[in-house]
């Protein structure tokens, strides 16, 4: 018999998890049995201590608030499921559910629930996860396991992905003592056909010799083969615990520019050596990988070639995102690739210069690249600093020319020119150390909105290339200036509050109301930047230098302020989710991912986004109190 009403209920439910995972027959069986409930505003669906209604609920129209006593803990709107906890626990209700506005709610009997759980793994995984996170902030530290339970449930295949597999390392490392003669060590290596030997003391690794050392230090005649290995070994060694993942190993090798990692019992140099992991071991695990790309970058001789490699990196990124590789791994790898490309470009550009370099300089990546949070190709933001010299005009002319060459090549690779010209080739951003110091002082002493914006971009610099001392001097001067004009931080904090989270828009995200991106949600301005800005001002107020990455900043803050650990950790999780969402969007639409069309988001993704707004609100409240901003407003 035809059942038009049930078909209509099915048409609604099929858009929302967990129903979207059910077959049409299963869903029709449920739809046929739905009980439709109507609630006036302020009316309770259930109250704390009530005995169990034999059903769970799905919001059809309107909005239901879940309250712990009087405190709102969750807001459910169209398609949201609630009332599961009690049903699964077979317990009384621990929370109140009250209509925030007039609502229509579908009730689905527990009998059908059991049928879903038994018959459909995916649906049950969603229900279990949402049951586990129902009443808590799913992104807080203590609930971490439960939130990512959902991730692992629905993406359980990701353990097949090599990046997060434990790397398999050679379990019987070849070792020798520090007083062994180089020749004897080389003989042992040859006999065992290995490219490295670890020098141990009391089974603990103290140094390492690789084929490369023999090539550079022995064959060149720098050392004699009867010298002791101690004289040529690299020390200390980089150590990791045995559960190191492939991705971690790759990152470590890229970071330290080494090809071998020592695996010790507890991951420190002070424990027993149990294995050695070489770059070769990793290449064997999978062919197309970041370390291969880095190698290709190092051998590239044209910007066009680097562009091709960056395309490959983009492909890699898209694989990582679709495989749900943790976002912090992904950012590390992509940042390392971007950095390598920039370095290579600088090398190529210097080689092209006809003049000799007048003095030392450093190249700074600014903004998201400086924070190592750049996943998609965006505009370039960079600057150049050079050592103070006598003939400033000539020196400046040289570095402007160099910067121009670098900017052009970056553009060829795919990092488009910055429309605001925040680039090293702009005479304003190609300055000597003392000019930069003066510049920073001016910004800090006379802050206006534009200068604060510049600070936001410049204070996240990363020294990609060149003389570190210059960059340290610059950092130093920033903190000096801030020390003298502490009010600057208040201005900066106030600026960080200019975009409040769209928290009140729990049903409709705050979207842009005019212009090209009308009705789209600006995830960068409204969600990512507030977290980035808050982290920056907080870390500056703590006098912490050289941490520019937002996650690292919050991590550091969590260590410094145990009383706010929870808040900072929720910010980290929210930031990861936002970055992931933005990257996903950008890959999908082949753009910067900044503007999200909410109609094209799945319900689950919308819920995830929504839950990121709470930490933003909390961190902004912290700024408000800490920097006395209520008097400022």
């Amino acid at each position: 018999m035809k059942n038009t009403i049930a078909e209509r209920i099915l048409d609604f439910l099929k858009h929302f998890p967990p129903f979207d995972t059910l077959s049409a027959e299963e869903l029709f069986a449920i739809s046929k049995e739905v009980v439709v409930l109507h609630f006036e505003k302020e009316q309770y669906i259930f109250q704390q201590g009530n005995t169990l209604n034999d059903c769970f609920y799905v919001v059809k129209d309107g909005a239901i608030g879940i309250y712990n006593d009087k405190t709102l803990v969750d807001q459910c709107d169209e398609g949201d499921v609630f009332g599961l906890r009690a049903l699964i626990r077979k317990d009384n209700y621990l929370l109140n559910a009250k209509a925030i506005e007039e609502s229509i709610v579908y009730a689905i009997s527990s009998k059908l629930l059991e049928k879903i759980i038994i018959n459909n793994t995916e649906a049950s995984q969603f229900l279990i996860a949402s049951f586990a996170t129902n009443t808590r902030n799913p992104y807080s530290e203590e609930d971490k396991g439960t939130l990512f339970a959902y991730e692992t449930f629905t993406h359980k295949n990701n353990s097949d992905f090599t990046e997060i597999q434990s790397a398999s390392f050679s379990k019987n490392p070849i070792t020798c003592k520090s007083h062994t003669k180089i020749k004897d060590a080389a003989l042992v290596m040859s006999q065992n056909k290995v490219g490295s030997i670890v020098i141990t003391n009391n089974k603990q690794p103290v140094g390492i010799i690789t084929d490369k050392d023999l090539r550079y230090k022995i064959a060149t005649g720098l050392y004699n083969i009867i010298d002791e290995v101690e004289s040529i070994m690299s020390t200390p060694v980089i150590t990791f615990p045995p559960n190191i993942t492939v991705a971690e190993a790759q990152i470590a090798m890229l970071k330290h520019e080494i090809s071998h990692l020592c695996i010790t019992k507890d991951g420190t140099v002070n424990s027993e050596l149990i294995g050695i992991l070489s770059e070769h071991d990793i290449i064997v695990i999978h062919g197309n990988n970041p370390s291969v790309l880095i190698k290709e970058i190092k051998h590239a001789t044209t910007a066009i070639r680097l562009h091709e490699i960056r395309e490959k990196a983009h492909h890699l990124l898209s694989n990582y995102i679709s495989q749900h590789i943790p976002i912090s791994f992904v950012t590390n790898i992509i940042s390392a690739i971007n950095e390598a490309i920039t370095k290579r470009i600088i090398h190529l550009s210097i080689a092209e210069m006809s003049e000799t370099q007048p003095t030392t300089f450093a190249w700074l990546a600014l903004g998201s690249q400086g924070r190592k949070e750049q996943l998609l190709l965006t505009d370039q933001d960079n600057a150049l600093v050079y050592e103070d010299a006598e003939h400033n005009a000539e020196v400046k002319a040289y570095f402007l020319k160099l910067a121009k060459a670098i900017n052009d090549k970056l553009n060829t690779v795919g990092f488009e020119f910055c429309p605001a010209e925040m680039m090293g080739s702009n005479p304003k951003w190609c300055l000597s150390v003392s000019e930069w110091k003066k510049q920073f002082q001016d910004w800090i002493i006379h802050p206006d909105e534009d200068k604060i914006m510049l600070c936001n971009i410049f204070f996240d610099f990363d020294n990609v290339y060149g003389n570190h001392q210059l960059v340290d001097d610059m950092s130093e001067s920033i903190f000096d200036a801030i020390d003298h004009y502490e009010i600057f931080l208040n201005f900066m904090a106030q600026n960080a509050l200019k975009n409040p989270p769209p928290l009140s828009f729990f049903r409709n995200f705050l979207v842009e109301d005019s212009g090209e991106h009308k009705n789209q949600f600006d995830i960068k301005a409204r969600a990512i930047m507030p977290l980035v800005d808050a982290a920056r001002v907080l870390i500056l107020s703590k006098n912490i230098k050289n941490i520019t990455n937002t996650i690292d900043r919050y991590q550091k803050l969590a260590n410094l302020e145990p009383q706010n650990k929870h808040l900072y950790e929720t910010c980290i999780n929210a930031f990861k989710i936002l970055l992931h969402s933005r990257t996903q969007q950008g890959l999908k639409n082949n753009d910067s991912g900044r503007f999200i069309d909410l109609n094209h988001l799945s319900k689950a993704d919308r819920l995830k986004l929504k839950s990121c707004f709470k930490p933003i609100k909390n961190i902004q409240e912290l700024l408000l109190v800490r920097f006395n901003l209520s008097q400022f407003m």
């Binding site: 035809k2 209509r8 409930l37 007039e102």
Partner: protein, 219 residues
């Protein structure tokens, strides 16, 4: 005994229907309401015929989707004009039954429920006309007209004729399957539940207050 004899001329299903009225429930929370709607070949009670009937049950102001009835009738009468509204063709893919069978099933289904319809008088007259063709008496069920009911919360003296579309808009009801019997029955059910919720806000509501000429709105 006398009563029983009097009814013995009727077919079994109709006797069962009549019997269901012996035990009535009178309280608002336990009584069964059935929201229903008919699609017809036109608006003439004497000449036009029922093409489909759709219903949904309501107990304690909860709409039970498991308690629905939907049927399509075989009719010789055909009106090209109304096809535009309800979209029911004379021959189509939907399984259809004879009118006598449809009415028998419908009575079996409703039993002693209180019927709820928008402009109930028309739908009830259409069913009664079909019953008459079967030589059976009129429906015994009490009926509530959502059009009238609405006026209880606004102005009882309001003579305006509110269409289902207008009220759906006022009560913020998404209209699906408008002009299908089931679709309209479901909209009517939602409308009924929403109007009653408004009435309940005003005072203690009893079942009798829902029927026509009671002016609870202004008491």
């Amino acid at each position: 005994m006398n009563w029983f004899n009097r009814n013995s001329k009727y077919p079994v299903f109709y006797r069962t229907y009549l019997n269901s009225f012996k035990h009535k429930k009178k309280d608002l929370e336990t009584v069964r309401f059935v929201a229903f709607d008919t699609e017809t070949t036109g608006l003439n009670i004497n000449e036009d015929k029922i093409l489909s009937i759709g219903t949904v049950g309501i107990i304690n102001f909860k709409i039970h989707i498991s308690d629905t009835f939907e049927c399509y009738l075989i009719q010789d009468t055909f009106n090209t004009e109304t096809v535009k509204i309800h979209g029911l063709l004379k021959t189509g893919h939907i399984t259809k039954v004879e009118e006598t069978k449809a009415i028998e099933d419908f009575l079996n289904y409703i039993g002693n429920a209180i019927l709820v319809a928008h402009h109930a008088a028309f739908d009830i007259a259409m069913i009664n006309a079909a019953l008459k063709r079967m030589n059976l008496p009129k429906l015994k069920n009490k009926a509530i007209d959502t059009g009238h009911l609405y006026k209880k919360i606004t102005n009882p003296k309001d003579n305006k004729h509110y269409s289902l579309d207008e009220l759906s808009k006022i009560f913020n009801i998404t209209m699906h399957d408008r002009h299908t019997a089931s679709g309209d029955a479901y909209i009517t059910a939602l409308l009924f539940v929403k109007i009653v919720a408004k009435l309940k806000e005003k005072e203690n509501l009893s079942l009798n207050d829902l029927f026509a000429n009671k002016r609870i709105g202004l008491l």
